[in-house]
Symmetry: C2
Subunit: 461 residues, 2 copies
């Protein structure tokens, strides 16, 4: 288009707009619509504010998390702990202590529920990938050993945790909470194994397909189901609705049964059929739709939504192309963008500064000791009785002591319920980090490793 014509067009447009404006300003309205202008502006401003804070928090936690992860990888530690620490660093514990205003700008309190939603979606999707990676056939083969170990690894720390509550209750329990829910919650929170972090450590050690790795994964999986049921019961007790808690457990059992007896066989038939036709967008959508439905049911029942997405992933035939290909298509965005939201959210609520004085740190040490003793001791003893060697039993005990992500999720629930104080929450977060950090060094020290090259090393940072 010649430049002249172009300039002419713009000029004509300007002229037309001015004429239209002159004419239009004299018009009157026949309809007096309800003005939503002021409210609308507040709303859009609020939405833009929320987006700004969430985006900035994600940027900071992603970049800081990767730097920390890199450092942790060099130190032969699970990189995910680096990401968790980055989340804690941008919360009140570090940034808030050094530069309170920067922290308040980065993550103001009213952004928390939004960050929580993104975090929840991230955890739901992450647990779906964990479920997809789970080899259910091995779970069934090792079912009995795994079930025994996992129950021992729950019962022992549960009892020890409740015992510790005797000491913690007078010193650290929130007002208005009775002893029983406090002790039960402490027990439940000690019994958790971080399935996803465990899986990641095993992958890093190249042993998620070894005998030991499989039993550890199976025990952790069986344990998680139990632990979440326990937690649901504890939540029920904390809300003084014991009848409701029984209903929750009943419904959970029913849900589990339906997934295994009904959904699994159906998927075993449909999945090969899908694979013949190719994993189109339509099928991918339906799979994700079903996964979200499963998460919705689990959340509706009262156990966490992530239990549903994990379960749905687990009942998809593990050796199918769908189970192998699907994670590749969304794992990255989940671990890279959505999980950091969970780290940021948890960090926002963790106030390490609340632990002050030698007495608090002694309590913190006691929590770590009891948690480790219960989890390590319980599972190692059960494994030894089940016929594994001492070395393997110890390794299993150490692995089961990994708490990471899952513990953080449980602790968040406890804080929400008001069963634990922010101070105890901070101590428990330290415990979760310590028990996770100890895993890899001890595994190296024990000399337990998978065969190199058995698994393709994935770019986990």
């Amino acid at each position: 288009m010649p430049l002249m014509l172009y300039a002419l067009m713009l000029l004509a447009a300007l002229l037309a707009l001015l004429l239209i404006r002159n004419w239009g300003e004299g018009l009157t309205r026949s309809e007096v619509a309800v003005t939503a202008s002021a409210a609308g502006q507040v709303e859009v401003q609020h939405r833009s504010e929320v987006l700004l804070h969430v985006l900035l928090a994600l940027v900071v936690v992603i970049v800081a998390g990767q730097l920390a992860a890199r450092l942790f990888a060099v130190l032969k530690q699970p990189p995910v702990i680096g990401e968790v620490l980055a989340g804690i660093a941008i919360g009140p514990s570090l940034l808030g202590a050094l530069a309170p205003q920067a922290q308040a700008y980065l993550l103001p309190a009213d952004v928390a529920p939004y960050l929580a939603l993104v975090a929840q979606l991230g955890v739901i999707l992450y647990m779906f990938t964990v479920g997809l990676h789970l080899d259910a056939s091995v779970l069934r083969e090792r079912g009995q050993a795994a079930a025994a170990i996992s129950h021992a690894s729950i019962v022992v720390p549960f009892v020890l945790g409740a015992f510790l509550a005797l000491g913690l209750f007078p010193a650290l329990a929130p007002a208005g909470v009775a002893f029983t829910p406090f002790a039960l919650f402490l027990g439940a929170s000690m019994s958790v194994t971080a399935f996803p972090v465990l899986a990641r450590i095993l992958t890093d050690l190249n042993m998620s397909r070894s005998e030991l790795g499989v039993i550890a994964l199976a025990s952790a999986a069986a344990g998680d189901a139990t632990a979440w049921c326990l937690l649901a019961f504890v939540v029920g007790v904390a809300q003084a609705e014991v009848g409701g808690a029984v209903l929750v457990m009943l419904l959970t059992a029913l849900f589990l049964l339906a997934m295994i007896v009904l959904v699994r066989p159906v998927l075993a038939r449909i999945v090969p059929w899908i694979e013949q036709r190719g994993l189109t967008k339509g099928w991918t959508s339906l799979i994700f739709g079903a996964m979200l439905l499963s998460a919705w049911i689990a959340e509706g029942i009262g156990v966490h939504a992530l239990f549903g997405s994990f379960l749905f992933g687990a009942v998809i035939p593990h050796n199918s192309r769908v189970a192998r290909e699907l994670p590749r298509r969304f794992e990255d965005i989940v671990t890279v963008v959505l999980l950091p939201a969970f780290f940021a959210y948890t960090g926002m609520r963790t106030q390490i500064g609340l632990i002050h004085g030698w007495e608090d740190w002694l309590w913190c040490g006691a929590i770590i000791a009891v948690a480790t003793l219960g989890k390590f001791g319980g599972s190692a003893a059960a494994a030894r009785i089940a016929g594994m060697s001492w070395k393997e039993s110890s390794a299993l005990g150490v692995l089961m002591n990994t708490r990471g992500l899952m513990e953080l999720i449980v602790l968040n629930i406890g804080l929400d319920l008001g069963v634990i104080t922010p101070r105890l929450f901070a101590m428990m977060v330290v415990m979760a980090l310590a028990t996770t950090l100890i895993t890899t060094p001890v595994m190296h020290w024990l000399g337990v490793r998978g065969e190199a090259g058995l698994e393709p090393s994935r770019p986990e940072g």
Copy 2:
């Protein structure tokens, strides 16, 4: 583990817990912590409620959207319109009219801001993939023709839209809004081309790498930048901060310049270096971090965040392995899980029922006619003057008339600002759908098609 031992363990645990309980119930607290119990319970309940509604809405819109998309694919229509219609169907327009209680349960009003955040994140990520797919080198080659066409395709509908405002203002403008911002918004909203939908239609027609397709994409891309600047100006006027609007445009220009002059060359050096080392999780994280930072800057400036993510995708070297591989790793989750949140959110706000009586539908028809005349006429005339054949010019005009997603985004902003009423919003949504729906049939009728097999047919439903 023998069964006896197992039973003994459980029995001992139960006994221990009872003893602990008996002992603990007599304890008193030394610390009276502030009880956050009641507030905490409300919070966690609220969070669980939000998650339940968001999950259910996603399930419904994903499944219904895929069914509709399937139907639309059979009718040789862009499947994305099926998904948009599914979103509208679960809103007040259809489900709300048939079963108001079901609709209120599915998407209560206080869930809207949460759904909005997920929708925004989805659109940001989607625009990043669009940017990654954009062939910037061709954009530069065709830059002049594309710029002329895109400006003509904005100026003409803008003036015509403002002209139409003369008629619409007395009948449909909200109270408290002056003529000028109303007319400017109408003009701006008529000037939008749906870059993503256009890209998708071109892919479906197998012609996104053809001469015509490339010019259409380049014009739409250049047009979008202009349209968003215009929109930023209009938003500024609507908020009676004309000085602010000028600042917005200045900052936008600066941001654009910085991205092209500074970021692009840096990326051109870093990306080959990354490719040699492999696209690890660390690099992926940094790329996403930078993309979110770019989105944050754009949102902070005042143009929409998605402009930033699109721009960052566009400055990544198009022929690099990063640009080709990265989208594969997250496109699915974005189009399958996150964009449906946007469709549901838009559907929630669309009340087709507000358009009643022949007069309203006449206005609606007038809006469609003016929008099409302006966009089709403007770009076709400019293309003809730039030397394209009549057939190609018409095809280009029809393509530029595609509004889909982008128009919906703009309309949402207008509704937020209170510049348009929900009634006018509904009419404009109908216009967006109509102008998009008309594209493919007219393209087929014109007989314009890309060479078959030029592009691998992607599983777009």
